[in-house]
């Protein structure tokens, strides 16, 4: 495990720790994804190795991506920009380093428990109660550190990035407790249909209240900085922030349009999934107009390039998401790889890209030296970009094949051979993304520890 080396007497140990955490778990998470994809091509590859069975690998992959790779990556940037924006020091680097260490231990527990089959069987809420506690603890530590930093600020005005990260962390801590039904440690669930409603309220908010606000925070920081331009509109920031909280939080039922939940709840979720265009465009217009005419500057900074690409992905995933919430569309897209494509554009293309962008943007600034290798970072950028777009194309095609075949009355079994060749392409793209994660880990470790570049 990459120890975040708490004793390093340098600046920003917390931010560095989260960079390393993110880079390391990205490698593990993508290797799990690659293994899962391979098992769908060659199911007997891991025959009789219980802890590597697909049904255990998949939740490890998903949870590590969310809580091991993307969240720490976005937090790394936050631990840099929050003190910066407030013209102060982080409340406690010591607490920060403890948080990083605890976070890594938690991830180890996540992997081990899920591999051994200790799971509550609810998507994104699989982890058993003690681990839920650790995760809530982790978010609480982060929140305390950030809010205390806010309290000691020297800059009276809170910039929009700070709103996003503070609200994102506190709301995630609350929805995580709700979604994991932590008052029922044994099952971690409600009973029957309400359990599904609560689960998807929470599951949707993992993206809506954690990944999206934290990513927006990074974008709001990095893009104006990299362009050396003021933010386009304060009003749009305000509007985007509050409308995101209002609209995103109550559309989780669009995951349940085809099951017996109350119709009024479905109607709300469909209408407001379409209304998601409002917060999404408020954010994007603000960012894009800030960058208008400054794409050269963005191109020049590899971090900003990742972040800006992430915002474009956000546009696509959100427009697609609004479409997918329409019942007529979902007749074809639900239950198949179309949704998997959407999930990857969202989590890797949007939030993952921005997490990496944040890391690459702050690394030179927290180490005081240039990146170990700009070339490797650029290479990683292209591999991930091609990987995500490739995933989207391939998985969308498979999804359409599956969805239309089923609608047409073909059985699941008959469609399996039609998917095979796409699954091979998908695993190849996965190999690419995994390699890029290795590259990123190497680059980030070298940038932090063995960086011989000029001190700037």
């Amino acid at each position: 495990m990459t120890d975040p080396t708490p004793t390093m007497p340098t600046n920003y140990p917390t931010a560095k720790g989260f960079c390393l955490t993110s880079a390391f778990w990205m490698v593990v998470a993508t290797s799990m994804g690659l293994l899962g994809a391979t098992e769908l091509i060659a199911p007997d590859l891991t025959e009789n190795v219980g802890w590597l069975v697909f049904g255990r690998i998949r939740p490890i992959h998903v949870n590590l991506v969310l809580f091991g790779f993307v969240t720490p990556g976005l937090l790394a940037a936050a631990f840099y920009y929050v003190p910066k924006l407030l013209r102060t020091e982080l409340y406690s680097e010591k607490l920060g380093v403890i948080t990083v260490l605890a976070w890594n231990f938690t991830m180890v527990f996540v992997v081990v428990s899920l591999a051994l089959g200790y799971t509550q069987g609810r998507e994104y809420a699989e982890m058993i109660w003690p681990i839920d506690m650790l995760i809530v603890g982790g978010f609480s530590l982060v929140f305390v550190n950030l809010i205390m930093t806010v309290a000691r600020r020297k800059e009276p005005i809170l910039y929009v990035s700070v709103w996003y990260v503070c609200a994102g962390i506190v709301l995630t801590a609350v929805t995580f407790c709700l979604g994991n039904v932590i008052w029922r440690p044994n099952t971690g669930s409600l009973v029957g249909i309400p359990d599904a409603i609560l689960l998807w309220f929470y599951g949707h908010n993992v993206f809506g209240l954690l990944l999206t606000p934290l990513s927006a925070g990074v974008a709001y920081y990095v893009i104006p900085r990299a362009c050396r331009a003021p933010l386009y509109s304060h009003t749009l920031s305000l509007f985007g922030f509050w409308s995101l909280l209002v609209v995103y939080t109550h559309i989780g039922t669009h995951h349940l349009l085809q099951v017996p939940v109350p119709t009024w709840l479905k109607v709300i979720s469909i209408v407001d999934s379409v209304a998601m265009v409002i917060p999404v465009m408020a954010f994007l217009i603000n960012i894009w107009y800030t960058a208008k005419g400054k794409l050269g500057e963005i191109h020049a900074d590899i971090g900003a390039k990742f972040v800006f690409t992430g915002t474009i992905m956000y546009f696509f995933v959100s427009i697609q998401g609004s479409m997918m919430a329409l019942p007529d569309v979902q007749r074809v897209t639900h239950f198949n790889n179309w949704v998997v494509a959407h999930a990857h554009v969202g989590v890797l293309g949007f939030a993952g890209m921005i997490a990496l962008g944040g890391i690459y943007y702050i690394l030179p600034r927290i180490t005081g030296r240039p990146l170990y290798s700009r070339f490797l970072a650029d290479f990683q950028y292209w591999m991930i970009l091609i990987g995500v777009i490739g995933f989207t194309v391939v998985l969308t095609i498979v999804g359409l094949i599956q969805g239309n075949a089923w609608l047409n009355g073909e059985t699941v079994y008959r469609v399996l051979p039609e998917m095979h060749v796409y699954y091979i392409t998908r695993a190849s793209l996965g190999l690419m993304i995994f390699s890029s994660a290795l590259m990123g880990l190497y680059n980030i470790v070298r940038s932090i520890f063995f960086n011989t570049g000029e001190i700037s």
């Binding site: 025959e47 709301l171 029957g192 085809q258 239950f335 089923w406 073909e410 051979p417």
Partner: protein
């Protein structure tokens, strides 16, 4: 608007509170608690099997909720809220890499499940489901009990039917090939027994039959049709050795009927959902030509030739 820390934190928590009330608490308070027509509680063995189902992530590949637009497995019964009133957690699933399992109970007899869980390729050559032999026989049995309970009261009825015919099939099998074949063919309605395969034997037809056989049948009946496929050790009565059918009154119609409808009580599944009519005739003739070495293809009575025949 002045965004103080308090505005941000308290404001967003207030919004969240209101929304939780609206989209979680209200649906909870107004939830349906009445059991549906098929509802019953699970036995403890079934509940154990369900825990194994959860521990091994079956839910990532199998949904348990039938929609009005579904055709395949279980499509006879559209899901109702009252089916789930004791499920914690509820296992609706979000992806169908494998078929929906809400009505899986009684679809197959227990021995089919044993072979399938040991390695799904044994009964379903193209399957991409993981092998679960590592669970051990005990846990596979529990898992099977759970699978057989899916569909609740509806499944009980089907399981009972499987068990009734299982006894008959075993009895017939143990009396020897002659009696077994006789029993098998008596289960086919009379009108079907004398129907020859209406299509002529052609190279193209046999090639298609071969492909279908490989994709659907070979794990049980084996590549040479002697019933010694990899599933054989787990199913009883064992997969039919086709060679014993020779000279025992076999016909295209019997083959067709058995492949279409399956033989309830035995591991032999029905294929009417997966194979269209012509494909069933093709694979039937492939079996007749290659393994039984006796085909009635294209013999009288034939009726009017199909429009597309040369």
């Amino acid at each position: 608007m002045n965004m103080t820390p308090r505005t941000v934190v308290v404001g967003s928590l207030l919004i969240l509170g209101v929304i939780v009330f609206m989209v979680v608490v209200v649906p909870y308070a107004t939830r349906i608690q009445a059991p549906s027509d098929i509802f019953r509680s699970r036995t403890s063995q079934e509940a154990d099997g369900r825990s194994i189902y959860i521990a091994n992530g079956c839910v990532y590949c199998h949904s348990q909720s039938i929609r009005s637009i579904d055709w395949g497995l279980g499509a006879e019964r559209i899901a109702q809220a009252g089916d789930y009133i004791q499920d914690k957690p509820i296992l609706l699933g979000s992806e169908r890499t494998g078929p929906d399992l809400s009505q899986e109970g009684g679809e197959h007899p227990d021995d089919w499940h044993m072979a399938h869980f040991i390695n799904p390729r044994y009964t379903r050559p193209l399957s991409i489901m993981p092998a679960f032999a590592f669970l051990g026989t005990e846990d596979i049995k529990k898992l099977t009990t759970y699978a057989q309970s899916l569909g609740l009261k509806n499944s009980d009825q089907r399981v009972e039917r499987q068990q009734f015919w299982k006894k008959e099939a075993i009895e017939a099998y143990e009396k020897g090939p002659e009696a077994n074949v006789k029993w098998l063919h008596e289960t086919v309605p009379e009108g079907w027994r004398n129907v020859p395969n209406p299509y002529p034997t052609t190279e193209a037809g046999l090639a298609r039959g071969h492909k279908i056989y490989q994709d659907f049948c070979l794990g049980c009946h084996s590549p040479i049709g002697d019933g010694m496929g990899p599933a054989q050790p787990y199913v009883y009565p064992p997969p039919l050795n086709f060679t014993i059918l020779k000279g025992r009154g076999i016909s295209g119609g019997i083959l067709y009927y058995q492949i279409m409808n399956g033989i309830t009580g035995t591991a032999m599944p029905y294929f009417k959902r997966e194979l269209e009519s012509e494909k069933i005739w093709d694979v039937g003739n492939y079996v007749a030509v290659n393994f039984i070495n006796q085909t009635d293809a294209d013999t009288e009575p034939k009726g009017i030739d199909a429009a597309y025949e040369p």
